[in-house]
Each structure stands twice: as C-alpha cells, then as structure tokens.
Symmetry: C2
C-alpha cells in the first residue's frame, strides 16, 4: 500500500536536493555559515510591519483578506510601475503579474513552456531554484558557458543556432551563485542574438536593488522587451517570507501565465500584496533600502578583504558590486565537496559549487560564499579558517 | 514573434474558463449575484487583524518574515493538530503540510500523481477548481454518478473495478457545487471500496466548519487514514485572501508533495501562516466561527424558504445543512445557460450547473445558487425574480 505505483513519471525528476541533505549539518550550533542563500533577518523592516498593517487595514479593509484577481492585487500592480521603472523596466500596471515568489513564476513558466525533452538554455553555473522549478516538466538542459564576466554570448549563439530552444534563462545582476553581473556590452550582444533567433529570454533579476557600489546597468528586458520575461521579487527588499514575485512578460506569455496560475494557487496572498503595495507607495521602501545596503556592503567588503588576505594562491574569486554571494574557484584537482566536510569539522560552512550546474561533472573546484548572514568579524574569521582548511587540503593533494 | 511555438502541449488543456467569461457580467452594478463562490467579507475578522499582527510580530519577530520550511511554519503545523482533531482527523504536527490555499494542494497532487492520460475518478458534478488544477497534467476523467445523497458507492466500485485509477477526488461535506453531504453509511461504503481496490482518495473538505444545523459526520479520512489525502483550508474560517490550505496525507504522498512544493513556491507565506497560527492557538477562531455561522445560517434558510415559496413545479433542490451553496435541477428540456442570460436581464445571476461537469453534455437543467454573499432580503428577492424568469421560460419551452 505504498502508492509508488500511483506516482506520475515526472516525480523521478524531483529527487530530494543533495544540497539540502548536505547542508543539514549547517544548522549545528557554533557553525559559521557562509552557505546560506537567504537575506539577513536584520534587513527586514520588522519595526514598521505594525504600522504597515494598520495602514493596509484602514485603506483596503476586507478586500485585503478576500479572494483577488489572479494577475495580482490591483494597488500592488499600480505601485510596481514606478518601482519597475527604477529597475529599468517600462510597463503599465496591466503588464505586471504578481506570483508567489519568483519561484512561483519559474514554476508557471516551466508549466506553460516545457514539454518532456524540450530544450532550455541556461548559464553554467545557474540558479538552483530554477532547476527545481523546471525539473518536474522534464526539460533537456543546454549549458551556456560563462567566464569572469558571466555568460559568453558566442556560446549562447552556438546553442541557439543549432537547437530549437524553448527559452534562455539567466540572472543578469549579481548572479546566484557567482555574484557576477553581465556587462552592458554583453547584454547588448545577448539581446541581438535573442532577437536574431526569435528566442524567448527569461531574465531573473532578484538582486538588482542590492547594489553596493558601481553603476546600474539596464536590464536586457529594456533592450528587447518583446522577447523577455522579466522577473524580480520583494524577497530581498522587503521580506522573503511574504513570497512575492513580480513578472513583466510579452503579452502571450502573460496570458498563459495567468491561466496557469489559476490552477496553481488562484492568486498570491492578498494581504501580503497589500502590505507590499503600501510598503512601496507609502515610501517605506525608500527608507529601508539604504539600511539594507548599509548592512550588506561592509559584509561584502569584509569577505573580499579576508579572501585577499588569507586565501591560498591558485584561487580566484568574483568581485561582485552587490547581491548576496561571491564565487571562488580553486586550481584543477581541488574537490570542494571534500573540502566542505573538512571545513564543517572546523565549524565553517559554504556550498560546493558543483551543485549549481545542470550537468554533472562540472564545477568541482568551485564554491559559493554568502556574505549576508554573518557580521564582518564572523565573515573574516570564517574565511580565515576556510583558507587554512584549503591550504591543508592542497598539501594533501 | 508570437511565441505560440514555444508553448508546451499541456497549455491546450488550460483554456480560459468559460464560466469566468460568462460570469463577467455579474459584476454589473445592481446585480443580485447568487453566482459567487466566495465567502462574505462580513465573515472576516477584520477587527482583530491588527491585534493578531501585533501578537505575531511580538511572538515570532523576524522569523514571521523569513524563508521557512516547505512543510509549513512550525507553530501553524502545531496549532493545526487540535484543530484537525476537531474535524475528525488525527495527526501530529509532522503530518501537516501547509499549502498556498487548497488550490496549491490540488495542483501539487496533480503534479506528483497525474501523467498524460492517467485516469482520475471524480463526482459529476465536481468542484471546478479541482479540474483547473488537474487539467494541465492531462488526465482522463471518469465521472462517478451522484444522486440526492451525493456520490453513489456502486458507481465508484464499477469504475475502480474496471480501471487503473490514480486517485478518487471528492468533496464530502456541503459539496461545491451541490451543497450535498455524503451520509455516514455511504462514507463507510466508499471507505471499504477504496480499501478493497487499494485506491487513493483525495477528500477535499473546505466547508466542514460551516455547519448550520444537524450533526457532524466523521470524514472518510478517519475511516481509512492510510488511503486518504485530506485537504482543508483557512479560507472559510479565517480569510481566503491569506491563501492557506492544509493537507494530511499518507507518508509517501506527503514526501513527494513537499519535494514538488519546493519547486512550485518554496513555501507558503510565513507571515500569513503566523497569523493563522495565532488565530487558532490564541483562541480567536473559537469566537469568530459562531459569528460566521450566525451570518450564514439565516441566509441559507432565506434561500430555502424562498425556493419553497416561489420556484416552479418540476424543480427540485438540495437542502444543505451548511456550506455556501445549494443546487437546483429543473425538468428535462430546461436549459439553465439560456435562463442565465434571461435572468441577467432581470439583474439576477447564478451559475449554470453544466460548468461543474468534467464531461460535456451533462447537467443542462441544473444551477448552483450561492447564499453567502447577499443578505436575507436580497436572497429572497433574487429567488423570486429568478423563479419568474424560470416560469416564463418554461412556458416558452
């Protein structure tokens, strides 16, 4: 009576995440975790949530608690227009779809676009949550090569010229896992290639507002709006627990996303959407964002400083200007999964980079380091200890 | 550049709901709508939301805003244990999975269980939201016959004896659309049949707490817990806008639901879950539920009274003891879709019953009538006008 025989074929593609299993030990007390992929709770506007709730109940009353349109709570769709404009995305409120986190958008895109065996092109390495969303729809992944500046346009063109690809997925700013930001010239090349092959781009942009230095770069969406499904989220600028994602898509894609979303969850929480709408239109976000940046910038700097000071020769790492992560790569022969277990013994955790590749056998010498969850001193100590573990292991090699 | 060529095959199963198109006119001012499928905003505890928020922020602080476990916010899983016990479902907190509305559970069940062409058995008529959730996974529906008391056990047995069925879906209490409740003797028969064929039952129970008279009947889940995925929701006892569903499933099904949910939305809103947890464990629900019942009971009675008084001969209707709907059926030859458009001219709306059948050509003489959205006087007037329209149309026939 196990019901294994009742499972759909696609479930075999939903195997328990190895990364989740591996990272279970991270929760041990005393662990310095550079492994997390989550914002610091100190970045949440806990102190204003009460005020926000009162404002929302006063303004929207029972409609903040009622069923609402699948596309999104109308005041939030309105409030997103100037916010998105600030990110470089032009739309009216009718072009905004609110989803249950960006994850909700990725799932729905998978649902409406991916049939078994369909080809999807994505960066190697790429965002793990996208793979988790797409896997159940049984895609075949094509990996776009990357270098220091992220996606290599020539590799994208090679893939699109030789394959029928359902869509191209990439994270343009402060990518998870690498922290890399695609420079403007490459964005222009990518846009041209996408247009040339009449391809569909899914540009995932969760970290854009978290820029700690340097200049904003326009999203690819702004270069080829009719070819791009643009995703962003309130998870890094308000709170991830509210599960609010925002999509601006070409008309046909939007239409099918909304139809699919009716079946998935009817709509995203009206109450959370009302809170977000007040957070933006009430001007709270303008006060909170500088606080978030002031919290994270010194942490990023502390990590970069500690890497410069302690990390062994042969290692290179990205130098992000924002976001939550950076990416380190060791010389050939380094096995960061082995190092992970050694580091755990010294109470330091990170994520072995190989988990972020859609295909096995890649990224064995890489690691993702998160700098949002620990304070500067802890980051410095964590990197110092990790560097020692690396040095020891490299002698053994 | 329409991207039609990028769509997955399954999207053809997600066609825009006819019912939605038909019901668009219902929003016209002056319309008496007996068409809605939603709770009255007067049933929401708007007045305590502020207090609830303050309690939640005090108790859970930033964890109410942070990413949380896919299975659910731990205090809500705890709080659901005694609540579910009150509904007749025995579980511990580890057996509770929180989804983004019951819709979220239906989608995930479809995802892990339904492959293209797989057979699903469900009542005729059935809950439309279930069809919307299952359709994208391309099932083949087998319709279980129903009568005055709901599902006919012999029809279920005939289906299970002749087909490999992935699962049986039914709504046991105050069914949407019919308002019918399956009597205990039939539940026992259904349980035996499910067990005999080692089938999997999905028992959807959103309205159970809305009983206005009569005695509670134990859920089928309590008879065959190992064969039943039990679903309920906070939508009718707190607020639907929070999108909170609750599932208690056999172990293997729970495991796959959680894996699938990681890809769908990571988890349901922590903040909304924290609110619901405080709503239950803080005792608010015990005060609110009698208010909801006191609001709806006279409305149901008003509708039943008006039907007795005004509806033409040849019509029969269900006499629910709770929930939100009742179901009327005219004699052969009555076409309630035609009557719908006549009634709209007189500013009264309902839902033609044929929309609630998985197969076309059934239920042409039926209609669903909602009694939660209008007050008693309006319901009485609506039924009177509708009865006049029916009488006129029956003369024409």
């Amino acid at each position: 009576m196990g019901f294994e025989n009742k499972l759909a074929g696609r479930t075999s593609n939903m195997a328990a995440s190895v990364i989740r299993e591996t990272l279970k030990v991270v929760a041990q007390p005393g662990m310095i975790s550079l492994a997390g992929g989550i914002p610091s709770p100190d970045s949440f506007p806990v102190d204003i949530m009460e005020e926000l709730t009162i404002a929302v109940l006063h303004k929207y009353k029972s409609s903040a608690l009622q069923y609402g349109p699948t596309e999104g709570f109308p005041p939030l769709r309105e409030a997103m227009v100037p916010y998105l404009k600030g990110l470089g995305v032009e739309t009216d409120s009718g072009g905004v779809v609110v989803t249950s986190g960006s994850q909700g958008a990725l799932d729905i895109l998978g649902k409406i676009l991916i049939g078994p065996g369909d080809k999807i092109a994505l960066e190697a390495p790429t965002y793990l949550g996208a793979l988790t969303a797409f896997n159940p729809y049984e895609p075949h992944y094509l990996c776009i090569e990357t270098d220091r500046e992220g996606i290599i346009p020539e590799s994208l063109e090679e893939i699109l010229s030789q394959n029928e690809v359902k869509f191209v997925y990439l994270v343009s700013n402060f990518q998870n896992p690498t922290g890399k930001t695609i420079p403007l010239s490459r964005r222009q090349q990518v846009a041209k290639i996408i247009e040339k092959y009449n391809a569909l781009l899914v540009e995932d942009d969760p970290y854009r507002a978290l820029r700690y230095r340097g200049e904003d770069i326009p999203p690819i969406k702004s270069l080829i709006p009719d070819h791009t499904v643009y995703l962003t989220t309130m998870s890094k600028v308000l709170a991830p627990g509210l599960r609010l994602g925002v999509t601006v898509a070409p008309e046909l894609i939007q239409k099918w996303m909304v139809l699919a979303k009716q079946g998935v969850d009817l709509h995203t929480s009206s109450f959370d959407q009302a809170l977000a709408s007040e957070y933006i239109s009430g001007g709270y976000i303008k006060k909170q964002l500088p606080k978030i940046i002031a919290l994270y910038r010194p942490r990023m700097d502390a990590m970069l400083g500690a890497l410069d000071e302690y990390f062994p020769e042969g290692f290179t790492w990205s130098r992000p200007e924002g976001g939550m992560f950076l990416w380190a790569e060791g010389p050939d022969g380094v096995d960061t999964e082995k190092i992970y277990w050694e580091a755990i013994k010294e109470n330091v955790a990170f994520v072995p980079g190989k988990y972020f590749y859609a295909k096995k056998g890649m990224g064995n010498a890489t690691m993702r380091l998160n700098f949002t969850m620990c304070d500067e001193q802890t980051i410095e100590r964590g990197i110092r200890i990790l560097a020692e573990v690396l040095k020891k292991s490299m002698i053994t090699v």
